[in-house]
């Protein structure tokens, strides 16, 4: 006989959750534990894996005293906030709203176009941006701006923040677009029709019907994309490798632990940098869960409680 959620015993709950729990343990908790332990050591290329020693909190003290910490933290938060708001959520939502209101094949075709940045291999995609912003006579942007009297230059180096936001944003927008589109399409048409009969214009329908009804996917996209932006550095690395003050925290950790110019990798220090990122990420998640009232979203439906 089928059991309701309330009838499940503790043992059943554990059994049902165990595959997920195992995956989380293996791919999240265990790596975090290893990196946490590593962050209390001086393990690096020159100590190898058998001459390292415990150094207590000294890697964390180093982060606190590091002259570049403030700059790395500031650019990380700025980059995540701007890209998330304008592109990963903002543009993703805008495309979803516009294409669902157009509907049919046109909407689908338009959405398909926005998938191009995501399906293009990163190196080629970023190379296109580099050539777009390259100095004359190569860059496309310069050929548009030159007739307006703007001095040609390498725009990627001149406006590095704008470029890292654009490069990442154009990829990130497609994720939200897909999730939001499916969520909007799932809203019963009756609500929207009823609102139209009541005289609600498009913006009122978006504000009072669509947005409240896609709160779940909004929470998911905001949380997922925040974590994704916090930890991903691939495009920035290919674009300018963090030059021009664009070394976000995850790229700093990567450079320290895995890829500096002449190869003495500082795994212990890099581990401490990564742990700080884990704390920041968990902090963001907590804030989002409170802001979107997660507990209400997962509470028993009131209709069942009657």
């Amino acid at each position: 006989m089928q059991k309701t959620a309330k009838e499940l015993s503790q043992e059943d709950t554990f059994t049902l959750l165990s595959p997920t729990f195992f995956l989380v343990l293996l791919f999240f908790l265990l790596p975090v534990l290893i990196i946490l332990l590593m962050s209390f050591t001086n393990v690096s290329t020159d100590t190898g894996f058998d001459q390292w020693r415990w150094v207590g909190l000294s890697n964390y003290v180093k982060i606190l005293n590091h002259p570049a910490t403030g700059q790395h933290l500031w650019i990380t938060l700025k980059y995540v906030a701007v890209t998330l708001l304008l592109f990963n959520v903002g543009l993703g939502l805008a495309i979803a709203l516009l294409t669902t209101s157009i509907g049919g094949k046109t909407g689908t075709a338009f959405r398909a176009l926005w998938l191009l940045p995501r399906i293009t291999p990163s190196v080629i995609y970023v190379l296109m941006w580099k050539y777009l912003g390259a100095d004359a006579p190569y860059g496309l942007i310069n050929s548009f701006l030159a007739p307006l009297g703007v001095t040609p230059q390498n725009w990627v180096a001149a406006q590095p923040f704008l470029f890292i936001v654009l490069v990442n944003g154009f990829i990130g927008a497609s994720f939200g677009m897909i999730i939001f589109t499916s969520a909007i399409e799932a809203i019963p048409r009756d609500y929207l029709r009823a609102a139209m009969i009541d005289g609600a214009n498009y913006f009122q329908r978006v504000r009072h019907i669509i947005l409240p009804m896609i709160k779940w996917p909004l929470l998911f996209v905001v949380t997922f994309q925040t974590l994704s932006l916090l930890t991903s550095f691939e495009q920035i690395m290919i674009l300018n490798d963090g030059a021009g003050g664009m070394e976000v925290w995850s790229l700093w950790a990567y450079h320290a632990a895995l890829n500096n110019y002449y190869g003495n990798f500082q795994w212990g220090f890099g581990g401490a940098l990564a742990m700080v990122l884990v704390v920041i990420g968990v902090g963001f998640c907590w804030v989002y869960l409170k802001f979107f009232k997660f507990s209400e979203l997962v509470s028993q439906p009131k209709i069942d409680a009657l």
Binding site: F14, L33, T45, P67, A134, L258, Y262
Partner: protein, 473 residues
């Protein structure tokens, strides 16, 4: 009960995984190259390898034929086969690959890499010292006695020799002959430029002035007077050196924190932009654009490695006639000194062959590997690499070896004179280098003033390099 078993299994698994990772126990991953003891496979890796660099590993195949012949004559039953990987991975990924392989006892028997890796890999106990002194190394084999004396310095760390030089190069100042001709320079006068650099009468100031004149007279557009390397890299250290900076202090063995020389260097980097001979926001220019521009003679001066000559000839300037065009249109000289009477200097960054320890490679074939390296260190074998990839001779006898001597470019570079220097084999050099490169980018872009950028660099050195590893000037 079932829950407890599952939890116990989780804990056991996680505990053992953490323990194995932390203790570096990778015995589970080890596969040995066992089997017939008379058949020995020597693995050799080279990294960041373009197709034209293939001789770095392919030479081992040729040398193994000679080695097998020798072994047969000695009545030994051992026969050597080569497993060569010319890895196109970037230096960073290549080094990571080696470290992971070494921890799993799967490193190669010979690894070709930049000499700077000696410091950290020797400290970690991953490579074997080859000799205590240069004299001892030279006495091991006539091939090693033929290696240029200066190159052994790049293989030394903590008083021992850890590697065998594989190649050598120089970073020079190139200039466009047609553009200088447009400014009224005759071929004879161009020769005086080379001589002026040699005797210290033509300095970076003169180069800037000449490039400014080329821009002002319309011979080149603004920003095309002088192009240095468009990304981070050792080439820039030449300028630090030209302005009196030194990387390490031979007396203490520490790295140098020299705010004054850094400021002078960074002032130069910003000055070339302000003078209009290098573009604003130039750093970060795509390499393809750089090669196309300089190889087509669209900049008056540019500074770069001599190894570019091969790819300009075979690829970027192929449409203009390849190497014949380069000989006709491109001149070269040492990079000028930073002040009158100074000696021009070039940074040499030799690649070296290192021999991993048994704990890294899982093999006890170090002596055989060194014997193979001696057979790879011949004028015939090394010249093939030098000619194909535009690298300098590493052997004294190569300067008299006809095929090398007939290459006018390489032979000409070998005879340029001036001074050469290496980057130090120091465990913290990697951090020192990244700091000065970052500060240089900030100064050149104008985001920080040269003196601010230098002060920032010193502050970062105190933390990332460590005061114990620094001497302040």
């Amino acid at each position: 009960m079932r829950n407890r078993i599952i939890i116990a299994a989780f804990l056991l698994f996680s505990g053992s995984t953490v323990y194995r990772i932390l203790t570096g126990d990778a015995s589970w991953a080890v596969t040995t190259r066992g089997g017939d003891p008379s058949q020995v496979t020597l693995k050799i890796w080279a990294g960041n390898a373009a197709p034209i660099d293939h001789w770095r590993t392919d030479s081992a195949v040729d040398a193994a034929r000679t080695l097998n012949r020798q072994l047969e004559e000695e009545g030994s039953g051992v026969r050597v086969t080569i497993d060569a990987i010319n890895d196109p991975a970037s230096w960073g990924n290549y080094k990571k690959k080696f470290l992971m392989a070494a921890d799993s006892h799967l490193a190669p028997d010979i690894i070709c890499t930049g000499h700077e890796d000696i410091a950290s890999w020797a400290s970690a106990g991953l490579i074997v010292p080859l000799a205590d002194t240069v004299a001892e190394m030279r006495a091991k084999d006539p091939a090693f006695a033929d290696v240029r004396e200066d190159l052994w310095e790049s293989t030394m760390f903590r008083g021992k020799i850890w590697g065998v030089p594989q190649d050598s190069e120089a970073r020079v100042l190139f200039y466009s002959k047609p553009l200088l001709a447009k400014m009224g320079w005759t071929p004879a006068r161009m020769k005086t430029l080379e001589r002026g650099i040699q005797d210290g009468s033509f300095t970076t100031d003169d180069m800037i002035a000449l490039a400014e004149k080329a821009v002002a007279s319309g011979v080149v557009p603004r920003g095309r007077g002088y192009w240095h390397r468009p990304t981070r890299g050792s080439d820039h250290i030449q300028k630090y050196y030209a302005f009196g900076g030194r990387i390490d202090d031979p007396e203490t063995g520490r790295l140098v924190a020299d705010q004054q020389s850094l400021t002078r260097w960074f002032t130069f980097q910003r000055r070339i932009v302000d003078a209009g001979i290098t573009p604003e926001n130039y750093l970060g220019t795509e390499w393809g654009i750089w090669h196309n521009t300089v190889s087509h003679g669209k900049a008056l001066f540019w500074e770069g490695g001599i190894w570019n000559w091969s790819s300009w000839g075979s690829k970027y300037a192929a449409d203009l006639g390849g190497e014949a065009y380069l000989h006709k249109s491109v001149g070269y000289a040492m990079p000028p000194a930073g002040s009158k009477g100074g000696t021009p200097a070039t940074l040499v960054h030799p690649l070296v062959y290192l021999v991993p320890k048994a704990k890294a490679s899982g093999q006890m074939q170090q002596k055989l590997a060194l014997r193979l390296l001696a057979l790879m260190t011949t004028p015939e074998i090394n010249t093939r690499h030098a000619l194909d990839s535009s690298h300098l001779a590493i052997l004294k006898s190569q300067l008299d070896y006809a095929p090398y001597k007939e290459n006018t470019f390489l032979y000409g570079i070998s005879k340029l004179g001036g001074k050469s220097f290496f980057q130090p084999n120091h465990v913290r050099f990697s951090q020192w280098f990244d700091i000065v490169m970052g500060a240089m980018e900030e100064a050149q872009s104008g985001r920080r003033s040269p003196s601010q950028a230098a002060a920032d660099a010193i502050a970062l050195m105190r933390i990332d390099v460590g005061e114990d590893n620094l001497v302040f000037r």
